[in-house]
Symmetry: C2
Amino acid sequence: MNTLAEENYLKAIYHLSLNDSNVSTNQIAAALNTKAASVTDMLKKLSDKALINYAKYQGVTLTESGEKVAVHIIRKHRLWEYFLLEKLDFKWDEVHEMAEEMEHISSVELIDRLDKFMDYPRYDPHGDPIPDRDGNFKKHELKPIAVLQVNESGVISGVRDHSAPFLQYLEKQNLTIGKKIKVIEIIDYDHSMILQVEQNQTHISREVAKNLLIAI
Amino acid sequence: MNTLAEENYLKAIYHLSLNDSNVSTNQIAAALNTKAASVTDMLKKLSDKALINYAKYQGVTLTESGEKVAVHIIRKHRLWEYFLLEKLDFKWDEVHEMAEEMEHISSVELIDRLDKFMDYPRYDPHGDPIPDRDGNFKKHELKPIAVLQVNESGVISGVRDHSAPFLQYLEKQNLTIGKKIKVIEIIDYDHSMILQVEQNQTHISREVAKNLLIAI
DNA sequence: AATATTTTTTAGACAAGTCTAAATTTTTTA
DNA sequence: TAAAAAATTTAGACTTGTCTAAAAAATATT
């Protein structure tokens, strides 16, 4: 098995790979809140274990087996998040930190039974897809609200920023998963947007519009 | 917070304290499958953190705060065991290993909600009492079947050995928590016992009789 | 009570994972 | 395209938790 540190590196590399096919040392260092030198050390270890493709100064990609490990960790993370929300009544901004610890529980049988216990949920509380036991899942086709034009609408289906402050803000604005929104106005000056959400209108910054995702 | 290693030491010391008020370095080493020298090193750290009372060559006891930490870990362990058995349908011989990992999940709120979710169970699948959130629980008054005389009976209420092989053996012999047993005969030669369990009779060794507990 | 045995501690070493500071490579810019 | 800047790696060090071998203390034995 892999150590906790190794698992966290693989997960970080996986997430970063979604934006850039080749992930740099500095990106990983920033994601894990550590120093570039530490990352280099770990990349050698992961490379020795054939979990990543690594050439000095060239950045990294996950190997097939590295990706498999990463996806399984993400499966565990998202299933535990779903459990915390659905069964233990936590709010969507509270579950991430706990799931960060729980995702490292090793038993495969445990996670398969948890999956069954919850009747095989397909999406976690933040709208992210939950991989099945074979690692398969729909990479969801979402786009940020920021790309919408005036009068266009969509259904809130995910978030790009998973931090508690952002989620708490969304909760307060009633901008939660499943809600239908429509763009009423886009302010030229700062590209902020006025949205119709159910009976109310909300004014959101471009920053928020870029981090809130709707189904295509 | 305490490290994983520290938590495991505290838990081991707690369990050993139930038999001997003063716990020795070698006992801890045996319990944790490590070397006496390593134990000495850790005892110094735990002593520095005021979690144990330690004087060279004299063995250790837990301080009040050390015991509090240990009991909370045990609370987590037993609640997770209960969850695995009741909600995920694992068998009683399968839950211990997983709970060894899960007991280190740190969130107190999580464990309190898990407790509520399961409606505040008082005993885990092995008959051990589950401490409440304040660390209170009935230290149960059980005795091994080995102390019974012929014709005496009791209700199986706990085990002293929590290993999977022992539990699997008990399961096969139908000697599970809640079953009523009666001593039919004690063999002089090896002190093995013949028990009546429901409609059947079972012959158990003295070894087994010492590790199977009944309510007083 | 003196010696032998067992238990415990100390000393020194190692692996994992991290760090700072310096060196090297790559990329950018003038 | 050569110098400057940024990114990355190397070198050496530190912490945690572990180990083996040797020393010291406690306990048991004769």
